[in-house]
Structures are given as structure tokens and as C-alpha cells.
Amino acid sequence: MKYRLINLLVIIILSLTVLSSCNDSYNEISFFAMDTPMNIRIYGGFDNLPGSAEKIITDLEKKISVTDTESEIYNLNNNKSLSVSDETLYLINTAIKYCDFTSGSMDITVYPLVEKWGFTTKDYIIPEQEEISSLLDSVDYKNIIISGNSIKLENNAEIDLGCIAKGYAADIVSDYLKNEGITSAILDLGGNIQTVGTKPGGEKWKIGIKSKEGNGIIGSVSVADSAVVTSGNYERYFEKNGKRYCHIINPDTGYPADSGLSSVTVISESGTYCDCLSTAFFVMGKDKAIEYYKKYNDFEMVLISDSNVIMITPGLESVFEKTDNNCILEIIGN
């Protein structure tokens, strides 16, 4: 009898252990930065880590905001010449490298056009062709002249690091967390997703991809230690006479990008890389994006066309799960 009671007790204890071990503790912080909600969840580590992660991002924002009158970028844009901090210099140099890499499809000097179309104030207009043409002279990343820490902007150029800032922020925060010994964390910086390691149990993170209208999920990718970044025409746009004009401006034409794609999602280790490529591929379109994929083969992507076709690269075949049965799925880049 005594031994049966002991056995019973052991079973109860084991069962309770199974139940209690299934919740992994984490620290989480939600805040606004770079004009968007951000959320960082960290498994393990000290309680101060989320706050430190937030500070990394808000400190960066203070340097590169286009609207904060104290920021280096604001002052550079207004004075056309400034000696900037090492971090701002590094970010501008990195951005220029990607402008070059994408042959100008991503261009950090496109801000005057974004303003002219009304995407910064929501007073949307369709500018006259003459207005667009006159602003296009300023739109060229080669107008940025760098000498040491001194930056000079020629031809009335203005810089906006919006197409790289969140990706870069995600990279520096994830590096910081890894240096602090964190092996499991997920960052959501205004929809730029960055994962550190896997989920606590070793499972990959499941990241949803928005539908072409941005109001549902068409599928998901399972990732670890990766960034997942989307550029889409549903993020900021206006419609006039049945046509949609989105906030991603084609630097060559001065008009909102219209490449036949509703969204581009890029998956790779680096948030900076994903952020830049997703913008550039949205401008370039499917065929050029596939050319880059075949040439460099260091990222994967999900393209959604205007006609609701989902296109994924071969590296995602085993980790992509389609959830919208109204969409056709194609493999591209073979």
C-alpha cells in the first residue's frame, strides 16, 4: 500500500512538471519609435534588456529622424552640409552601398518626391509632370558627397533613411542581445521582423505574410536567426480615379512604383539587407528581383502580384505554408 501511494505521488508530480514546464518566461516591451509601434520579446536574460534595446532604437532615431529638428539628418537636409557622428556616417555609407547595389532602385534621396506626393502629411496630390521633373534633379544618391565625417548634399538633395532604418535598428539590437547571451528573441519593429535564434523549445518562429490588400494572411514562413521584411503597396497609399498610388516612389520616374507587385517580402540573416532589397525589388519588379536572386543567392523572397499570385523562391519550399486558398502558389528562381 505504501509503495502504491509513492508511485501515485510520483505520477502526479511528473504530470504537474509536464504542465508547468510548458510556459517559458520572457521580458517584453512595446513602444513607439520611428513613427511606428515596436515590440521586443526576449526569452531569458536580465530584466533591463528590453529597456536597453528600446534605448538603442530611440538613440538612433534621435540622430536620423527627418522631422526632429535636433537630429543630424534634419540639420543636414536643411544646411546641406554637416559633420555627422560615426553611426550616422556608417548608416549613410551603408545606404549608399545598397543604392549602388540596386542600381538606384532604392535611393535615399527620394524624400522630396515623397513629400510632394503628400505621403508625409496625408494631403495627397498628383503632382504635375513639370513639378516631378524639377524634383528629379535632386533625386540621385550621387548628390551625397562624403569626406571623412563631413557630408555635403548637392543639387538640393535631401536624405531620408526610412528604407534602411528599421532593418539596421533590428540588426544592432539583435547583435546586442546575442552579445548579452540571448539565444531566443523576436523583434517586431513596425512590421520588420527579426528573430534571434529559435523559440525556447527549439522550434522555428512562424511569421505571417500579409495578403495583397494587407487585411489578411496569405501564408507564413518558419525561420530562425533571420529577418523577414515586407514592402507593400497597402502600407501607405491613396486612390484617385480607381488607381492606387503608394508611398514607394520609383526614383527614376518620380512616380509611385507600379511594377505589377503588391508586396515583396525578403528573408535573410540581416535586417538591413532585407529592408533595402524589399524596397528595391518592389520598384524593380519580379523579373529583376529573380535576376538578383539567381546572381547572389543569399536571400529568399515571397512576391505577391497584383493578380494575387504568390511566388516563392526554392529555399522557402519546405518552410512556407500557404493559408489563403484563393491564391495560386508558384516557385520562381529555379
Binding site: L19, I29, P37, G214
Partner: protein, 121 residues
């Protein structure tokens, strides 16, 4: 001999019940939302257990506010002091499941339980 069988049966039943309870509590679809302002969760609401609909007036600063309507299975911002009113136009949280955001008033309404660990875009 009969008593031993009863004991074995009891032990197996307790273990099976534990495992069953584990799957029930971890897979139960939760319709719980949290309202977050300035990074702090100010309300956690189980939408499944709403008996009577009601409104929450959430103030921000001296004069700004969001009016949040809570009903069984759903929640949305019905009025706001912000200029753009994107948060009002966003509609019900049940439409797509994405957070409802009022950036000027630093307010987020989101599900606490999701099918996905994150949503890109």
C-alpha cells in the same frame, strides 16, 4: 489482485488527465486582447466573456482621447481625437486580426494570442 488493477487504472487515468489538460489549456483559442498605451498594458479583456457591450474612453494627455467599443468577440475604436482617424477607419480587430493602432495617442489594441509569432508588413 483486483486492488492492484484499480491502483494501476487510477494512476493511468491521473496521468492521462494531466496530459489532456495540458493540451486543452495550451491549444484553446483565446479571444483576449490587450490595450497598450505608451508601452503599458492598461486593459486586458477577454472578448469571449463579454455579457454587455460597453465603451471605454481612454484619455491621452490633457485633451486627447480614443473611444473604444467592446463587444462579444470584437473590439474597435469608434472615435478619436487624432487628426488622421486611421485608427477609427481601421475597423474591427476581427477584420484580419492585426493590431489597431493610434500613433498620435500612443494606443495599440491587439490580440494576446496569435497563430503566428509575428506578422511581417
Amino acid at each position: 489482485m483486483i486492488k492492484t488493477r484499480y491502483w494501476i487504472l487510477l494512476i493511468v487515468l491521473i496521468f492521462a488527465l494531466s496530459v489532456l489538460l495540458f493540451f486543452i489549456f495550451n491549444n484553446k483559442k483565446q479571444e483576449t486582447v490587450e490595450i497598450v498605451q505608451d508601452g503599458t498594458v492598461i486593459y486586458t479583456i477577454d472578448l469571449d466573456n463579454i455579457q454587455n457591450e460597453y465603451d471605454l474612453i481612454i484619455k491621452y494627455g490633457e485633451s486627447d482621447f480614443n473611444k473604444v467599443h467592446v463587444c462579444r468577440g470584437d473590439i474597435y475604436i469608434s472615435d478619436s481625437s487624432c487628426n488622421g482617424r486611421d485608427c477609427v477607419n481601421r475597423g474591427h480587430i476581427s477584420a484580419g486580426g492585426f493590431p489597431i493602432v493610434c500613433a498620435p495617442n500612443k494606443l495599440i489594441i491587439r490580440y494576446t494570442d496569435n497563430r503566428f509569432d509575428g506578422i511581417a508588413g
